[in-house]
């Protein structure tokens, strides 16, 4: 906790409605954020029980410097993922970090299952579990509106909530944070749903004098300048991550139509510039960030006969343009925004939803499933049927859609087509078919995300492919991000927060760490994650790499399956070696 030598934890039991405050000096060696959350998950997890068992915990955590420095904006959530069955780790921006910080908590641990649908309110001096029965079944938008009206604290409040998908335990259900932000991946929405927890609101307004203003503000200004002066930040603000569509498509790295292709003939239609020209209406930021990378696109929809039109605004980013765009052969920016809105309202992870539907479309094409299963015919580019399919997934409409709701890995186990069910470690893939880095990065990443270690970026930065260099680079970055995610920095600012800057930031709030100590912390956290994964039955060499990766050209040419498995083995050896060191 800032200016203190302990980590302050709020424990909430939804069943007994009792809370407990913990002050843990011993957790300071995990710094905060993902470090503290990993340790708390390790302590509270029940590996022998199902992810949806009421005894499983949800852990939220922030860091000591959260929001009082630029772009240190995120909150981490850790849990047992219902999608992968193992480590669940998810990040969200919005206002959650600031409100937890000013409510006075470094971490929140939620256990148990509420007797009936409830929502949790956390303020500086009260914690309550309230009746949410009337909200059960509502979209995240509607539920948010009701809570906003009902609860005090506007302006210093964060509201996170699940949609119908989470209530129906869809394994990649997401949690909507404030507006346009999410805990997207790995199914936190389902875990909240399994606890009858519709929403959590946090109000933060405690008094918190600055300890060493001169030092603090000096560092603040330096970082602010770096953040606002660099080109990288202007990219995130101007066009945003959708700037990636054009170069990835040109390089032959844009997963298209279930990765049957890596170039999309309609790529220009859905490029970042296209969205800017046709749909962009607003940009927003998370609390504490001067960049403002949230891009809001608008489309018009006729919702009733008689020219009844409405303007619908949704946040869009590169990963969504890939998953609900090129991956499904969807050709226009408007249609992508429509799909994003559907996914948003129901509370689903956009990436997993798109990739799951990609598998389903190809399976339908190959006739291993028929309209008996899909109800509506699925075809690449047919947006209106995709919208229906997404609704069916969220409600688990029939046996087939219930299987889809469990993920592409599960569905392909049941119906076939494993070779083109694009998952790594049971988590659906991200939008980079750049080379070995992209595949291995997500296969070995602790949470199987492209953000674990940014493997895909090494395909771009490494001039020549070298197995040892790639494996070492991924390993080093995976550990380093354990440190960044303990503070909890938004990874868009990872280049600004080098070791020197991190030391300066922590130093100005009274926490001095040497470079070696920071390295030790990073490794300590990574080891804890590996221990958890092991206890949940994860074995790196069990991970299968879908054959489709090696059938479709990547930006680095056609990839070799044997080489990929070899890289994974090399990485695993490095991890095992790390685990045996004291």
């Amino acid at each position: 906790m800032i200016y203190e030598k302990f980590i302050k934890i709020l424990y909430v039991d939804l069943e007994t409605k009792k809370i407990k405050i913990g002050k843990r000096p011993d957790l300071c060696e995990y710094l905060g954020g993902v470090g503290v959350a990993t340790k708390l998950l390790e302590e509270n997890l029940r590996p022998e029980l199902d992810p949806y068992d009421e005894n499983q915990p949800i852990v939220f955590a922030i860091g000591a410097a959260s929001t009082v420095f630029p772009v240190i904006t995120k909150t981490v959530a850790m849990f047992r993922s219902p999608l992968t069955g193992e480590l669940g780790e998810s990040y969200a921006g919005g206002r959650l970090a600031l409100t937890l910080f000013l409510a006075g908590y470094d971490a929140v641990v939620i256990r148990g299952k509420a007797e009936h649908p409830s929502y949790l309110t956390i303020t500086r001096n009260n914690v309550e579990i309230k009746d949410a029965r009337a909200l059960w079944g509502m979209t995240s938008d509607e539920a948010g509106r009701v809570i906003r009206e009902r609860e005090p604290g506007g302006g210093k409040r964060s509201i996170i909530r699940i949609g119908p998908a989470g209530e129906n335990l869809v394994r990649y259900a997401s949690v909507c944070v404030d507006t346009y932000r999410h805990f997207g991946r790995l199914g936190l929405g389902g875990v909240m749903g399994s606890k009858n927890l519709k929403a959590i609101t946090v109000v933060g307004d405690r008094n918190l004098p600055v300890n060493n203003f001169k030092e603090y503000f000096k560092i603040y200004q330096e970082i602010y300048k770096k953040v606002t002066d660099t080109e990288i930040m202007s990219k995130y603000h101007d066009v945003g991550t959708p700037i990636n569509v054009e170069p990835l498509n040109a390089a032959g790295a844009l997963p298209t139509k279930n990765l049957r292709q890596s170039v999309f003939e309609y790529g220009d239609n859905i490029s970042g510039e296209s969205f800017v020209k046709k749909n962009l209406v607003r940009k927003m930021a998370c609390t504490g960030c001067p960049v403002g990378c949230i891009h809001i696109g608008q489309f018009r929809r006729e919702f009733d006969k008689g020219h009844d039109y409405e303007a619908v605004s949704v946040g869009y980013d590169f990963e969504l343009i890939f998953a609900l765009g090129s991956f499904l052969g969807v050709k226009t920016s408007d249609e992508i925004l429509m799909l994003i809105e559907t996914v948003e309202e129901l509370g689903l992870d956009a990436m997993s939803t798109g990739v799951v539907l990609g598998w389903a479309t190809e399976a339908f094409m190959k006739k291993i499933i028929t309209e008996n299963e899909t109800i509506v015919p699925l075809a690449f580019g047919k947006t209106d049927n995709y919208i229906k399919a997404i609704e069916y997934i969220a409600e688990r409409k029939n046996e087939f859609y219930s299987a889809l709701a469990n993920g592409a890995d599960f569905a392909s186990d049941k119906y076939g087509g494993k070779d083109y069910a694009m998952t790594l470690g049971k988590n659906e893939i991200s939008g980079y078919h750049t080379g070995y880095g992209a595949i291995i990065g997500a296969a070995v990443g602790a949470r199987h995300s492209h953000l674990c270690n940014g493997g895909y970026s090494f395909d771009q930065s490494m001039k020549e492919f070298d197995k040892d260099n790639l494996v070492n680079a991924i390993f080093a970055e995976e550990k380093e991000r354990c440190l960044l995610n303990s503070l909890v920095i938004c990874l868009f600012a990872r280049k600004v927060y080098d070791r020197k800057t991190i030391q300066a930031v922590l130093g100005s709030i009274g926490q001095t760490y040497s470079d070696d100590e920071l390295t030790a912390i990073a490794e300590r956290i990574y080891k804890a994650k590996i221990r958890i994964k092991k206890s949940l039955g994860f074995n790196q060499m069990d991970v299968k790499l879908p054959k489709r990766f090696f059938e479709t050209q990547s930006a680095s040419g056609l990839l070799d399956e044997k080489t990929a498995y070899e890289l994974m083995l090399m990485y695993n050896n490095k991890v095992q070696e790390m685990m045996t060191k004291p």
Binding site: P247, G252, E319, Y456, S457, Q460, K463, R494
Partner: protein, 76 residues
């Protein structure tokens, strides 16, 4: 030799809104050097294609080559 360069829209901020260039360069110059010569910072240069084929940054150019330049891939 004459080289044609076409830039992604994003690079307009460095070139006074121009995206198409026809420039005269000495033979032996690399793709990267050609692009830098019109004012693009090296750190911003991502994929380079010559006549729709991807090339390395140190690819030696020939007379009449049509270069396309894309920004680097950012994360997230």
């Amino acid at each position: 030799m004459i080289i044609y360069i076409e830039l992604s829209e994003w690079f307009k901020r460095y070139t006074d809104e121009n995206t198409r260039f026809e420039i005269e360069l000495k033979p032996g110059i690399t793709a990267l050097q050609a692009i830098i010569s019109i004012g693009i910072p090296e750190t911003e240069i991502g994929l380079i294609t010559v006549g729709d084929t991807k090339v390395a940054h140190d690819h030696i150019l020939a007379h009449g080559d049509k270069i396309r330049v894309y920004p680097i891939i950012i994360g997230g």
